[in-house]
Structures are given as structure tokens and as C-alpha cells.
């Protein structure tokens, strides 16, 4: 029951060697030198205390066998008490500091991966579902943190092993060798599980990310499910995805659970050998009771960290797998890379497209611009090839054309949302690859086709590009964008939280807000990707007026989906399959009687009274026909 939602990896996934992963992880901890030193010092101290305790007990037991000095025994006991007290205090400081370090490291990791993700261009987001990325940033870093915490605790147990081992060697060599002889078996078992464990873990995490993604999508589209009454269908589909995650994670869990018993068997055998060899030794008189005690105790001390590693192996592997997934995200290079970091006083707004070549590349090769030429040339749908266009400073230009002609692509390239492959785009004579991206985008105002708003107050939404704006400025922007009267109908006016994606507002209102947002930004270059969704005629007129005011004095590119808009612009280009087929102002193009004139005619035919009256036949014949 795959449901086509397989557990495949993402294209940006990479395989790292454990060594590289560990080195990378360690580098995060190095940033907290001071705290780490505290952790290490107290870790060592705690381990010493923990390994000294059994030694003192052994001394006491041996003392019982010999002189049985009461005061000496009391001293030993009191010493153990004190030692334990210190042990607790040491551990207290260790735990506090390690929590701090891990908290900070996970925070840094999240910050890094979040920054890396935000740096990616839109081709990345077109390809990978948001739900999966979110899961990677938050859930995987969480797994990583858990592992780091366990690892720290394990290091302390390991230190004990070495201290104990040193002492053991001075007491009885054959027994020590017996204990040591078990170590290779432990490692062989642990390593044998490693590969399969890692694989299963990755599968498990991916299955979970798929669930995440599924939930995200269906909750986003819940109103469709409701209106079509398709809850049962989603429910069944969800069961499939959920079941898939169940199986993948169960397989993973099963694999891990063979490790622990396997290692326990090794421990059992070690115990048997110690009893046997130690028993012989004791019978022969070479081994004292206290030593026997120490060996039995140290077997526990010795195996505990190893068994812990084994039983925490799932988490440990999960942590490594998680860090692998995170680093893959961090390491994927963004395609939109700036060559220089220019910041100008001002952008005048002269735009030139020079022999531009562009295609939405559909495979992993998009991830690395540098590799473009070494990759085999795959036939790709070119959106533009050899496209040239000059726009003067302050000019208003409208682009019209059929769906798929490349209108929006042109705007997106100019906004630096996608990387182009050939030619160049310059602004004021400077390649847009040479600007500081932040500076550059600040000067370009983009009104996207679909209005996106935040779950925040209306005021903050308008101020999004200019947080310093005053309330007066916000109201001014709204007024410019066709009037602010509708704001009074909201429960709390400007302070109303308009919910995720602005769902509290009507579609038309959302467009007005986005318009106001851009006006407030006051950009040198305005790109208006007209919404395909139209607003009612009243609002339309208001926006129209606002637009006419806005395009004065700044370079404006209007991707027109409605010809209503274009009559007042300086120049219109008609785009067809990435080529300019006509160019001129409204009157010239009408004169030309070409594509534009035809478009305009038909458009106005649809808008004309005559058409509307005639539509009766159209509507009614269809309605009553057959």
C-alpha cells in the first residue's frame, strides 16, 4: 500500500561518512569551550569518584579478611560517604552545564539550518514540500539533541572503564584479560548492526516526514475535503501513510532490539568465565574475596557503558541520521548566488535583459550552478533563449501574453527568485548578480499573483516590508490602495489578527493589503504580477486609480492578466513563448492590428455591452440545449 507516497530520499540528500559527521558535530561543541571544559572536568571527577567507590569497598572487604580493624573500616565507610557526596555535586555541575551546551548547540544548529533554508531560491521550494522541510529543521534537530545528551552521559561511563581497567590489571592479570577478551565481541556485534540500523532509521524518519507532509497538506485543504465530503477518502489515505510509518519504524525498532540481548549474552558469558577462573583462583588461594568482589562489580561498571551504547544505539543512530539530514539541508548550495556585494546610494531603475537564457531546470543539477557545464546537456524546456529587452528609468511597461508565455518568469528572474543560465540582466548598467541581495530586493517591490498574508495584525501585515512605519503611514498606504473604509468592519480594525494566510479577509481585501504593503515600501522598481483573481468592479476601479498614481516616477513592470490595466502604461510588450512579438504603446499596437489588437478586441468583446447582451444566447443555449 504505497499510495505513491514512497520513502524515497530527497534529491538534496547526501551520504556522509561517520567520521565527517562526527567531526562536524564536534565543531558545534567547540564553540562552547568554557562550558565544555566544565563538563569535561566534572565528568572526569564524577567518573573518578564512581570508580573509587568500589575500590574502597574492596579494601574494606579485604580488611575484614585480615586484621578487622574497626576504626579503619569506619574510616573507609565515612570516606565513601564523603566521596559520594562529592560525586553528586560534581554530577550536578556536569548536568547543568551539559544541558546548557546541548540547548545551545541545538539552538545553533536550528539557526544554521533555518538560515540555510531561507537562503534557498524558489526552485527549491517548488520542489520540496514545506512539511518535510519543517520536519527536518525541528524534529531532526530534536533527535540530534537527545543523542548529544546521551553521548555525554556515555563519555562519563567510558572514563570509568579506563580507571577500573588500570586497577584491575594490578590485581589479577588472567581475570583482566578475560574481561578484556569480551571487548572485541561487543564491538563486532555493535558494528554489524550499524549499517542496517542506520538504514532503518533513515527509513523511519522519512516515513514520519511523509506523515507530517500529508497532514500538512490535508489540513491546508480541509475545506475541500469538507465540501466534497471526502473525509473518508483522506482517512483511508492517511491510514496508508500512517501504517507505512508504523511498519518502517517497527522494523527499525526490531533491528535495534536484537543488539541489546546479543550483548547481554556476551556479558553473561563473561560472568561465567570470571566465576570459573576466579573460583579456581580463590580455591588456589591466589584471589582474595575483596578482589573477587571488585571483579564482579567491575564487570557491571565495565559492561554498563557498552550496554548503554548498545541500548541507546537507536537514539544514537537516529541522532547521526538526523544530523546527516540536517547537514544535507545546510550543505545544499543555493542556486542564486551573488558574485559581488554592491550597495548603491539609489537605484534609478534602468533595466536591461541581455541575451537571456533560462529554463526551470528539473533535476539535481539545479543545485549547483558551478556544475552546469560539466553536466550532460539534457533537453530542457527553455522559457527564454536569447531574450533581450531594455526598460528605461521611470518607464512603465506592461507585459501581456497567453498563459505560459513567460510573463511571470521574467518578473521572478528580475526579483532574483530563480537563477538564469545564459546572458545577463542589468540594472543601471550593473549585473543583478553583483548587488547585495538584501539591498537589491529592498528596492524592488513585488506584488505577487497570489496574496500571501501572515497570521498577525492587519497593521503588521502592511508594515511587513517596513517595520518602522507609523500608524499614519499605514493608513496612508491603505488609502492609496483604494481606501481604508473596509477596515472599520473588522472586529478590531487595524489590530485585527487576520489569521494564517489572511483567511479572515476576503480575497479582494487581501489584494488591497498586499498593494498597501508594497506602496509603503516605496520601491524604485515595481513589479506587479497582477492577480488572476479579479476583484469586484468597485474595488477594481480603486486599485486602478492607485496603480496609476504608483507607477508615476518609478520603473514599473506590470504583468497584465486584465487588459484594463495596460492602457495607461508607456509601453506594452506582447510575449509569446519567450519571445517579444509586438511592442509599442496602446494606440500604436491597436493600429498595428496584430496580436495585441486581437487580444484587446476579444477582451473588450467580453467586456462590451454588446457581448453581455449576446451572452444570453450563449448562456441559455448551453443551459437549455441537449
Amino acid at each position: 500500500m504505497g499510495f505513491g507516497l514512497g520513502l524515497g530520499s530527497e534529491e538534496y540528500d547526501r551520504i556522509y561518512r561517520d567520521r565527517d559527521l562526527v567531526r562536524r558535530i564536534v565543531s558545534y561543541f567547540v564553540d562552547h569551550k568554557l562550558q565544555m571544559s566544565v563538563v569535561i572536568i566534572f565528568l572526569t571527577l564524577t567518573s573518578f569518584v564512581n570508580s573509587l567507590s568500589p575500590l574502597l569497598s574492596r579494601e574494606a572487604i579485604n580488611e575484614l579478611e585480615s586484621t578487622r580493624d574497626w576504626s579503619y573500616l569506619l574510616l573507609l565507610i565515612l570516606l565513601t560517604f564523603t566521596l559520594n557526596g562529592f560525586g553528586w555535586i560534581f554530577n550536578y555541575f556536569r548536568q547543568r552545564n551539559s544541558s546548557l551546551v546541548i540547548g545551545d548547540v541545538v539552538l545553533k544548529l536550528r539557526q544554521d539550518v533555518n538560515a540555510a533554508v531561507l537562503n534557498h531560491d524558489l526552485s527549491f521550494y517548488d520542489k520540496y514540500p514545506t512539511g518535510k522541510i519543517v520536519s527536518r529543521i525541528n524534529t531532526d534537530s530534536q533527535d540530534f539533541g537527545q543523542t548529544a545528551e546521551l553521548s555525554m552521559q556515555l563519555i562519563s561511563s567510558f572514563l570509568i572503564v579506563f580507571v577500573v581497567l588500570g586497577v584491575l590489571l594490578t590485581i589479577n592479570i588472567p581475570l583482566t584479560i578475560t574481561v578484556l577478551g569480551m571487548v572485541p565481541f561487543i564491538f563486532i556485534i555493535a558494528l554489524a548492526f550499524r549499517k542496517v540500523a542506520r538504514k532503518r532509521t533513515l527509513e523511519g524518519q522519512r516515513a514520519l516526514a511523509t506523515v507530517n507532509s500529508f497532514v500538512q497538506e490535508t489540513v491546508s485543504g480541509i475545506s475541500i475535503a469538507k465540501t466534497f465530503r471526502q473525509e473518508q477518502k483522506l482517512y483511508n489515505k492517511f491510514n496508508g501513510v500512517n501504517e507505512q510509518s508504523y511498519r518502517a519504524n517497527l522494523r527499525r525498532a526490531y533491528v535495534f532490539n536484537f543488539v541489546f540481548p546479543a550483548l547481554s549474552i556476551v556479558q553473561g558469558i563473561a560472568l561465567v568465565l570470571i566465576m570459573w577462573i576466579g573460583g579456581e583462583g580463590a580455591l588456589g588461594g591466589q584471589l582474595k574475596a575483596g578482589d573477587f568482589y571488585l571483579f564482579l562489580q567491575s564487570l557491571w561498571l565495565f559492561f554498563f557503558p557498552l550496554l548503554s551504547i548498545a541500548s541507546f544505539w537507536p537514539s544514537f543512530q537516529a541522532g547521526l541520521a538526523a544530523s546527516e539530514r540536517i547537514f544535507a539541508l545546510v550543505d545544499t548550495p543555493p542556486t542564486v548566488l551573488q558574485d559581488e556585494d554592491l550597495v548603491l546610494e539609489k537605484i534609478r531603475g534602468k533595466i536591461e535583459f541581455m541575451n537571456l537564457g533560462f529554463s526551470y531546470v528539473v533535476s539535481a543539477d539545479v543545485l549547483d550552478r558551478g556544475k552546469q557545464d560539466i553536466l550532460p546537456e539534457i533537453a530542457r524546456a527553455k522559457v527564454f533563449s536569447n531574450f533581450s529587452l531594455k526598460i528605461n528609468s521611470g518607464e512603465s511597461l506592461a507585459i501581456v501574453g497567453h498563459t505560459g508565455a513567460g510573463k511571470s518568469s521574467l518578473a521572478k528572474l528580475l526579483a532574483r527568485f530563480y537563477e538564469f543560465q545564459d546572458g545577463d540582466i542589468t540594472i543601471d548598467g550593473i549585473s543583478i548578480r553583483n548587488f547585495n541581495l538584501k539591498f537589491y530586493r529592498k528596492h524592488i517591490g513585488i506584488i505577487p499573483q497570489t496574496p500571501f498574508l501572515w497570521a498577525d495584525t492587519l497593521e503588521n501585515n502592511i508594515k511587513y516590508s517596513k517595520p518602522s512605519a507609523t500608524k499614519e503611514e499605514v493608513l496612508w498606504a491603505l488609502e492609496q490602495a483604494g481606501g481604508a473604509d473596509w477596515v472599520d468592519d473588522l472586529p478590531n480594525g487595524l489590530e485585527t489578527n487576520i489569521r494564517e494566510r489572511g483567511t479572515l479577509l476576503s480575497m479582494g481585501q487581501r489584494q488591497l493589503v498586499v498593494f498597501a504593503r508594497t506602496l509603503l515600501e516605496n520601491p524604485s522598481i515595481l513589479i506587479l504580477d497582477e492577480a488572476t483573481a479579479s476583484v469586484d468592479p468597485f474595488t477594481e476601479t480603486r486599485i486602478q486609480e492607485a496603480l496609476e498614481k504608483t507607477i508615476k516616477g518609478r520603473t514599473s513592470i506590470i504583468i497584465a492578466h486584465r487588459l484594463w490595466t495596460v492602457r495607461h502604461v508607456d509601453r506594452i510588450i506582447v510575449l509569446d513563448h519567450g519571445k517579444i512579438v509586438e511592442e509599442g504603446n496602446h494606440d500604436e499596437l491597436i493600429q498595428l492590428k496584430g496580436h495585441y489588437a486581437k487580444l484587446y478586441d476579444t477582451y473588450f468583446r467580453h467586456q462590451s455591452l454588446e457581448y453581455i447582451e449576446k451572452a444570453k444566447e450563449f448562456v441559455t443555449t448551453v443551459k437549455e440545449g441537449n
Binding site: Y125, Q216, S223, E231, L271, W276, T503
Partner: protein, 612 residues
């Protein structure tokens, strides 16, 4: 399998066939968790795990006792039974891991089952919630609940539950052995320890509670913020606000980190660690003291075994730090799940309701509506009548309540006052399934699922590929779909990026065609520039009006012009209604639409339209 009882205390728009936990959900997180643990065959798993754990513990303690006896014999120079001891130790030492394995596998199965079942329950519940509920949720937070909070319940079983069993037996059994095989006074150390342990552990768990709740809460918040940012990435980039978004995320990640560190501080202060060290030392001293007193059963080997048994208490002490933080997190996670599941949903499935086929007459009677959580009415006193098969056009300024009005028909929301009737029956009296399956909705912002075009079209009603092609043709969508590389099996991207607005709308029209509803609501807002597309959309829309009652929210004057009934809305009220001929004469507002569009003076318009 247990047969489920339908939820009685909650209104739901959708319920699974079985919902055995419906009643328990309102009774708190702990009871809900317990009900899940003991649900169906799960309880056998729990029992086996419990007894298996006890058995392992007995074996481990017995091993210590046997070793103690053996050492005493060796020390006394008696070696005849050496081989027997070795064999016994071997059997126990190697046998108990096998027992362990069986236990572990059962535990894992139970843990994964818990995760799967609770997640399914939660998701089913989400599906059952009304639209007004979903409007108020943040998707990222819901996601955090469905994946991460649910996962806490997995951790609760594996490892927490079995570790609790182990801790319990590792606490009780050594004490039992000490009681059985050693002088009674040696119980002093372990018993005093146990009492103190329980007391300190309780206070530890109590302190963890609020921190765990914060950890889960902050995680949800962090997820919500990130999800929103990534959904609006185009705006973020366009405004060059990556840094701001980064900071916003960081602020939340910082809050999460603070909660995490605080949890660490509480763990650091965990007192039982000190207690156990003292207890073992005290026990050793006590045993030595008894040995010095010459108590007969306290040979050196016995001391070693006794201290070994006391050492077994270390395990529950150590592990509890961790186990109970998992338990707390699982409880906090469950509380977050229940918080959502127990939120009162306002619309019910109404299984007993009317299921008759709808003819299509609709009337609104004095309808007033405001969105939940807001006192500002969006619709006031709406009233109109529609005959079956009529086309109703709704016009008005943005935010006038046009879309809201149509949502009351399919009960995406319920009216506050007044009634909405279909064929003379209040919509509330219909079986929700029956009602909604006869109403289709083509929304303004067409949402497509990231699956194939075929699946998207057949979303409302399963259809064969031939049927899908047929409806796509009627919706004028066939041409562009067949141009896609994989035709009808082309995947539509998550954000529907590959389709233009007009194309998406036609896919939605095809979807509605296939569903063949009695009532259709078409929130039409696309405006295509090129004639071809425009004609196609017009044609598709006209096509779908046939034989059903249709509500059109549209700005296409040609559609408005010929509607059977036109509702002119302004600020939540209907200011005029009637046919075009009537309204053009009587309604100033209605005339304005045409005046504005054609840049005409009113007299001219009336003249052109042949109205005198």
C-alpha cells in the same frame, strides 16, 4: 476487537467506524493514555511484558545470591560444586537475554501501535472538526501535535513503560531477596531508601510537569512559525525579510532552548542519585558491622552478595531521571492532543438526518451570522428565495459577505440567527454526508492536492479515467491537461505551481462535474486575458450551470446579466435583489457596476441597455 461507541458528548462532522476512546477523552490525559495502553490486545502485551520483566529481575537477583554462596564456598576452600555453579550461572546469564529479547520485541510492537493508533485517532478527529475550528488553527502547530506529540506516546512505552516495570521489579525483588536470605535488620538501608526515593521522586516529577508542558508548547509554536514562514517564502524574499524571519524563528527556538535547559537543571538537582550512593555505602557499613558482631549468616561472600543486591537498586534510581521526564513529556503531549480533540466542534454529522435527494430550492430567512470568536456580524438579516435550477449571481464590494453567505448552505458554518432551508427543510436537519455530497463548491483560491490531475479531478467522486476525461472535456480542461508530459497522471506540485489560475479553476470545474451536485456554488474570480481562455472558461461555466441550482460569485458581467436572481450585497446585507431588468431600474448600486465598467453616464447606460 471491541466494538466502538459513537461519540455522544461531542459534535463531529466525521467519525471513524470505531472510536473506542470517545468517552475517555474528556477524562484527562492520564486516563486516556491508560485506556490506550490497555486497549484490545494491547493489554496482553502489557501483561506479558510485566511478568517477563519481573522474571528477568528475579533471575538477576538470584544470580547475585548464588554468586554470594559460591564465593563463600570457594573462600572456605570447597571447590566440588564449582562446575555446577558455572553451569547454573551460564543458564541464567545466557537465558535471561533471550527472555529479554522476546520482551523487547513485544514492547516495540506495543509502542509503535500506540503511536499509530493515537495518531489515527487524532487525525480522524481533525477530519471531524468543523471549518470554523480549522480556521483558527495554525497548521504548523497541528503538524507538531500529529507527529511529535504523538511520538511521545511511543517513547512512553518504549522505553519508559518497560523501564518502569524494570524499575519496579528492580526495586522490589532485591528487597524481597534481602528479606528472605539475610538478617532482617539489613532491610534498614533499602527500606529507608525506598521511602525517601518515592518522596523525592514525586517532587521531581511534580517539578518537571510545567517544564514539560512548556517544552511541548514551545515546540508547537516553533513549528507553526517555521511552517508559516516557509509557506510565504516568496513574500519573505521579495521583502528581503529573511533576517527578520530568521530572528522570529530564533526567538521561538530560544524559548524552547530555555525550557530545555531548565529541564536539565531540574534533572541535575535529582536527589535520589545521592540517596542511592548513601544507601549502598550505609548498607555496606551495616553488613560489615554485623560481620564484626559475628552474626553467623554474614560471611564475606554474603556481604558481597548483599551489597550486590543493594547495587541493583541503582538501576531504578538512575533510570528514573530519564524515565519520568519521558512520562511527563508524554502526558504534556497527550494534553495537547486532547486539547484539540476536546475542543467543542459546532457542527454535527447528524446521522439520523434527512437523506432525501435534493431538488434545489433554497431559501434564506432572516439569516444573521458572525464568525466564531467575533461579535461583529458578517451577515445581517439576509433573506431570499431560489427556485430549483435557478442561477443566482451575488455581486458587491469586497468583504461584503458574498463568500460567507454561500458557506452557510453546505453548513461549513452554522447561522447564528434565522434559517437556511433547502427544499423547505432546515439544513441543520439534513444528514451532513447527504447534504454536502449534493453540494459542490468551486472555491476562489482553488486548492489542489499534490497528487495527479486524475486524482484531483476524481477527488469528490471516484471515477474511471474515461469519466475523468469526459468531465475534463466538458470543463474545457482536456486540451491543456493532455499537453502535460504525463497527461492526466501529471503530478500537481504542492503549491499547484505548475498550473495557472485559469487552469486550476477548470480542474476544479471538472471536479465538480464529476461530483454532479444538485447545488453548485461557484466562487469565480479568475479573469483571463486571452480570448481563448476567456471563452473556454465562459463555456465551461455555462456548461456546469445546466440542471442545477447555482450560486455564482462573479465579476463577469455577462454571467450577472443573465442570472435568474441577482443579490446585490453591501457590508453584510442584501441591498437589492431581483433580475437584471428589475435592478437596472431600481438599484442605484447595481447600475453603478455597469456605469463604472463602461465609463458611461447613467442615462446613457439605461439607454444602451434599452431601459426606458
Amino acid at each position: 476487537m471491541a466494538t466502538g461507541t459513537r461519540v455522544q458528548n461531542h459534535k463531529m462532522e466525521f467519525t471513524a467506524k470505531e472510536d473506542p476512546f470517545g468517552d475517555i477523552r474528556s477524562k484527562g490525559a492520564k486516563r486516556w493514555i491508560i485506556a490506550h495502553i490497555f486497549h484490545g490486545t494491547n493489554k496482553f502485551f502489557v501483561l506479558i511484558i510485566f511478568f517477563g520483566t519481573i522474571l528477568t529481575s528475579i533471575l538477576n537477583s538470584a544470580l547475585m545470591v548464588i554468586i554470594g554462596v559460591a564465593i563463600d564456598e570457594f573462600m572456605a576452600g570447597m571447590g566440588d560444586r564449582l562446575f555446577q555453579y558455572v553451569v547454573v550461572i551460564f543458564i541464567i546469564g545466557v537465558g535471561s537475554p533471550f527472555l529479554n529479547l522476546v520482551n523487547n520485541l513485544l514492547r516495540e510492537t506495543l509502542a509503535q501501535r500506540m503511536e499509530r493508533d493515537t495518531r489515527q485517532e487524532f487525525y480522524t478527529n481533525l477530519l471531524g472538526k468543523s471549518q470554523s475550528f480549522h480556521d483558527q488553527q495554525k497548521i504548523g502547530d497541528i503538524m507538531a501535535r500529529t507527529t511529535n506529540d504523538v511520538r511521545m506516546l511511543n517513547f512512553l512505552i518504549s522505553p519508559a513503560l518497560s523501564l518502569i516495570f524494570e524499575s519496579f521489579s528492580a526495586l522490589v525483588i532485591p528487597i524481597l531477596f534481602i528479606f528472605l536470605f539475610y538478617p532482617t535488620e539489613l532491610l534498614l538501608a533499602p527500606l529507608v531508601f525506598t521511602v525517601l526515593f518515592v518522596i523525592t521522586l514525586r517532587s521531581y516529577i511534580r517539578k518537571l510537569g510545567p517544564v514539560a508542558a512548556r517544552l511541548r508548547g514551545e515546540f508547537g509554536q516553533m513549528n507553526a512559525i517555521l511552517n508559516e514562514t516557509l509557506s510565504g517564502i516568496e513574500v519573505v524574499k521579495g521583502s528581503s525579510n529573511e533576517e527578520y524571519e530568521s530572528k522570529k524563528y530564533l526567538k521561538n527556538a530560544q524559548l524552547f532552548r530555555n525550557a530545555f535547559v531548565e529541564q536539565g537543571y531540574i534533572m541535575a538537582r535529582y536527589l535520589p542519585l545521592l540517596l542511592i550512593a548513601f544507601a549502598v555505602t550505609f548498607g555496606l557499613g551495616h553488613a560489615i558491622f554485623l560481620n564484626l558482631q559475628g552474626v553467623p549468616s554474614m560471611e564475606i561472600g554474603q556481604i558481597i552478595a548483599y551489597v550486590g543486591l543493594l547495587g541493583n537498586l541503582r538501576f531504578p534510581t538512575f533510570i528514573s531521571i530519564w524515565v519520568f521526564s519521558i512520562v511527563r513529556l508524554a502526558i504534556s503531549g497527550s494534553e495537547r492532543l486532547l486539547e484539540v480533540m476536546n475542543t467543542e466542534s459546532d457542527i454535527d454529522e447528524n446521522i439520523q438526518g434527512r437523506t432525501a435527494e435534493i431538488v434545489g430550492g433554497i431559501s434564506f430567512r432572516n439569516v444573521t451570522f458572525s464568525y466564531p470568536g467575533s461579535s461583529q456580524p458578517v451577515l445581517h438579516n439576509i433573506g431570499f428565495e431560489v427556485q430549483p435550477g435557478q442561477t443566482v449571481a451575488i455581486v458587491g464590494t469586497t468583504g461584503a459577505g458574498k463568500t460567507t453567505l454561500t458557506k452557510l448552505i453546505s453548513r461549513l458554518y452554522d447561522v447564528i440567527e434565522g434559517q437556511v432551508l433547502i427544499d423547505g427543510v432546515d439544513v441543520k436537519d439534513y444528514h451532513l454526508e447527504s447534504l454536502r455530497s449534493q453540494i459542490s463548491y468551486i472555491e476562489q483560491d482553488v486548492f489542489l492536492f499534490s497528487s495527479s490531475v486524475f486524482e484531483n479531478i476524481s477527488f469528490g467522486k471516484t471515477g474511471s479515467i474515461d469519466q475523468v476525461i469526459k468531465v475534463a472535456k466538458e470543463a474545457q480542461a482536456h486540451d491543456f491537461i493532455s499537453k502535460f508530459p504525463k497527461g492526466y497522471y501529471t503530478e500537481v506540485g504542492e503549491r499547484g505551481v505548475q498550473l495557472s489560475g485559469g487552469e486550476r479553476q477548470r480542474v476544479a470545474i471538472a471536479r465538480a462535474f464529476l461530483a454532479d451536485p444538485k447545488i453548485l456554488i461557484l466562487d469565480d474570480s479568475t479573469s483571463a486575458i486571452d480570448s481563448e481562455t476567456e471563452d473556454k472558461i465562459q463555456y465551461a461555466i455555462s456548461n456546469i450551470l445546466k440542471g442545477r441550482t447555482t450560486f455564482l460569485i462573479t465579476h463577469r458581467l455577462s454571467q450577472i446579466r443573465w442570472a435568474d436572481l441577482i443579490l446585490v450585497m453591501k457590508r453584510g446585507t442584501i441591498i437589492a435583489q431581483g433580475t437584471h431588468e428589475e435592478l437596472i431600474k431600481t438599484s442605484e448600486e447595481y447600475r453603478k457596476i455597469f456605469v463604472k465598467r463602461f465609463d458611461l453616464r447613467e442615462e446613457q447606460l439605461l439607454k444602451e441597455m434599452g431601459v426606458t
